[in-house]
């Protein structure tokens, strides 16, 4: 009951034409506040599906998913939108910033849909950008920022609403080594400050930043263990 995230026998079954695909086959996992979990696995292992369900973008076909005491399975789409707005911060592989829109406005977006006043939106988005080291870049457009900087805007957008968890889907997948290290450093620092982070990755070196590793294979958990080496090895 005390767990932040509780998955109880989660199944996800797709029907593609006449073929049924079982993307998840009975996932049981509990995640406590303050954990940094890496979800690993090859493509097709079901990690993206799990991520979509954890992010309340999708619903499981069977099983129960509780987030911060809320029953997610079966909730209406508007309620899911509200839960995403308040509890979840997304960081995507391809940054997913809104084009031709300033860094500040991108970071404001969750607060905009929460209905805050413009001043509050700007103040909070400004301090979120400061936390990721982008003070002074508020009025830059995505095209004027490097990949690493764009991903930092995305992290600021994920943080701005003080969510319960940050979900990062291959956050370094489109970045060079140095930017990757920067982004992972920011995520690790956020985690030290108490943020619960779940990160999908296929890269074991990236996963090494997390404190716990969850390996998926064919829609089941292959292993679930604490990271052995806490010192990341990355050249």
């Amino acid at each position: 009951m005390g767990s932040l995230i509780l998955c109880d026998d989660l199944w996800k079954v797709y029907r593609v034409g006449h073929v049924t695909v079982q993307a998840l086959r009975g996932i049981n996992v509990a995640i406590e506040p303050g954990e940094f979990v890496a979800v690993m696995g090859a493509s097709g292992s079901g990690k993206s599906t799990l991520m979509n369900i954890l992010g309340c973008l999708d619903q499981p076909s069977r099983g129960r998913y509780r987030l911060d005491g809320l029953d997610i399975a079966g909730a209406a789409s508007d309620i899911l939108a509200d839960i995403r707005n308040r509890h979840i911060g997304f960081v995507f592989q391809s940054f997913n910033l809104i084009p031709r829109t300033s860094a500040l406005e991108n970071a404001q977006l969750p607060l905009f849909y929460r209905g805050l006043s413009l001043q509050e939106q700007r103040a909070q988005a400004g301090s979120a950008l400061e936390r990721v080291g982008l003070a002074g870049r508020e009025h830059h457009y995505p095209t004027q920022l490097s990949g690493g900087q764009q991903q930092r805007v995305a992290i600021a957008r994920a943080l701005v609403g003080s969510p319960t968890i940050v979900l990062a889907d291959e956050p370094t997948g489109n970045l060079d080594m140095e930017s990757s290290r920067e982004i992972l450093g920011i995520l690790a620092r956020l985690n030290r400050d108490g943020m619960t982070i779940i990160m999908v990755t296929h890269d074991s070196e990236v996963a090494a930043y997390a404190s716990r590793q969850l390996m998926l294979q064919d829609g089941r958990i292959l292993f679930d263990r604490a990271t052995t080496s806490h010192v990341p090895v990355m050249q």
């Binding site: 979509n52 973008l57 995403r84 995507f92 997913n96 084009p99 849909y113 209905g115 805050l116 957008r157």
Partner: protein, 411 residues
């Protein structure tokens, strides 16, 4: 919510200004539609106003009673071929019907009018003073003749502008001058303010008014005294006209000793009858023009829908992002609706401007009267906003129903 709408409108403006050519071409349909509505409705209303003012120039709330026709061996004569209306009918109406403010009578004939070495063939009207009030005649100089002039069959005359132009030198003062009709001298006591064309197209200023008694005894001659060409009456308010007409019919039928099965030996007309026929014609015109303009608004609306569908497809990923950070369906729906309405309202405003200028040009170039009423402008504005709302609904709904996962994955 106000912040949401403000930001969404600004976002819409930014999106539209990014694709100026596309937005402009999309708005073209609405622009042309609205401009056409404004210009054509203004012309239609101008025509109606012109008819209305012509009708009003004949005097308002006026009832005209015309004599009936003869029927000899089944051959019917024209109107006024028999004397059925008399001065005493007029006096009786005045006495019996309190609803009538003024009553008057007139008889007309076309005669040769002479002033020195000039002459003119025009209508001469023998009238009672009540007639002048009913028809709302005013004077540019001088004034009307009086009941005393009528009683004494004085040789005085009132002259219309056209008649003045034909009988007098430019700049010559007609009041006080003496003219002759059938060798009878008349002193002109007043010049009438011009009224222009009547609703039937005749020149209302080609007139000469003399007292009814004078006309009867000294000019026209008469088979029997007291026969009038027409009776005139007016009421306080236009609403009273139908009741007054009924009462006049009743009084006249009794006086003329008509049996219930007999037809009226007179005809009663009101300005409402005369005006409504012509207003009806221009109303039909307005409706037709409106229908044509509506078609172009429809085409404009489809253009907006088309471009919005393109926009939704182009921005699928953005929609996915917005949904991921917590946008509800209604937020996405509103965003695209506001974009559609912004587009159509801007188009509508430009269209209104073009329409107003177009109507003005029509008046200046073609000389057609146009009336641009605030109602028309407000209607056009509401219509263009409505077109955006209606045709934006389908694309906006399509956007709001996207699946966030698929939208985020869209390339």
């Amino acid at each position: 919510m106000p912040a949401f709408i403000l930001v969404t409108v600004l976002t819409a403006l930014r999106v539209l200004s990014r694709n100026r050519l596309r937005a402009g071409l999309t708005m073209l349909g609405i622009m042309i539609g609205v401009a056409a509505v404004i210009a054509l409705v203004s012309i239609g209303q101008g025509a109606r106003a012109a008819v209305r003012s012509q009708v009003a120039s004949m005097g308002t709330n006026v009832i005209v009673v015309l004599p009936g026709t003869t029927t000899v061996g089944g051959v019917r004569g024209g109107q006024g071929t028999v004397v059925t209306l008399t001065v005493s009918d007029g006096l009786e109406l005045k006495k019996r019907i309190p609803l009538l403010v003024d009553t008057g009578w007139a008889r007309r004939d076309v005669m040769q009018i002479v002033n020195g070495n000039r002459n003119w063939n025009g209508p001469v009207n023998g009238i009672s003073p009540g007639y002048l009030k009913i028809r709302d005649w005013t004077y540019t100089s001088g004034g009307p003749f009086t009941q005393g002039d009528v009683d004494s069959a004085a040789r005085v005359a009132l002259i219309g502008q056209t008649t003045v132009e034909n009988l007098f030198e430019a700049g010559e003062e007609p009041v006080g001058a003496t003219i002759r009709i059938k060798n009878v001298p008349f002193r002109i006591v007043g010049v009438l303010t011009p009224k222009g064309q009547s609703a039937q197209g005749s020149d209302q200023d080609d007139v000469l008014f003399i007292p009814f008694t004078t006309a009867e005894r000294k000019v026209f001659g008469s088979q029997f005294l007291g026969a009038v060409g027409a009776l005139f009456a007016s009421t306080e308010r236009p609403e009273d006209l139908p009741e007054a007409v009924d009462e006049i019919r009743e009084v006249l039928r009794v006086r003329h000793r008509l049996q219930p099965e007999q037809q009226d030996d007179f005809t009663i007309r009101t300005q409402v009858d005369i005006g409504s026929v012509q207003e009806g014609t221009s109303h039909t015109l307005t409706v037709m023009l409106f229908a044509i303009a509506s078609v172009s608004l429809l085409v404009g609306g489809i253009g907006i829908m088309n471009i919005l569908l393109v926009s939704v497809t182009e921005r699928t990923r953005e929609i996915g992002i917005r949904m991921a950070v917590g946008a509800k369906r209604v937020h996405i729906l509103m965003q695209f609706l506001i974009e559609a309405v912004t587009l159509s309202v801007i188009g509508g405003l430009i269209g209104i401007a073009i329409g107003v200028v177009g109507a003005r040009l029509t008046t200046i170039v073609a000389g057609w009267p146009t009336v641009i009423s605030a109602d028309t402008l407000v209607m056009a504005f509401i219509f263009s906003a409505g077109v955006g709302l209606f045709f934006g609904l389908y694309p906006a709904n399509k956007a709001a129903r996207l699946n966030p996962i698929e939208a985020l994955r869209y390339e």
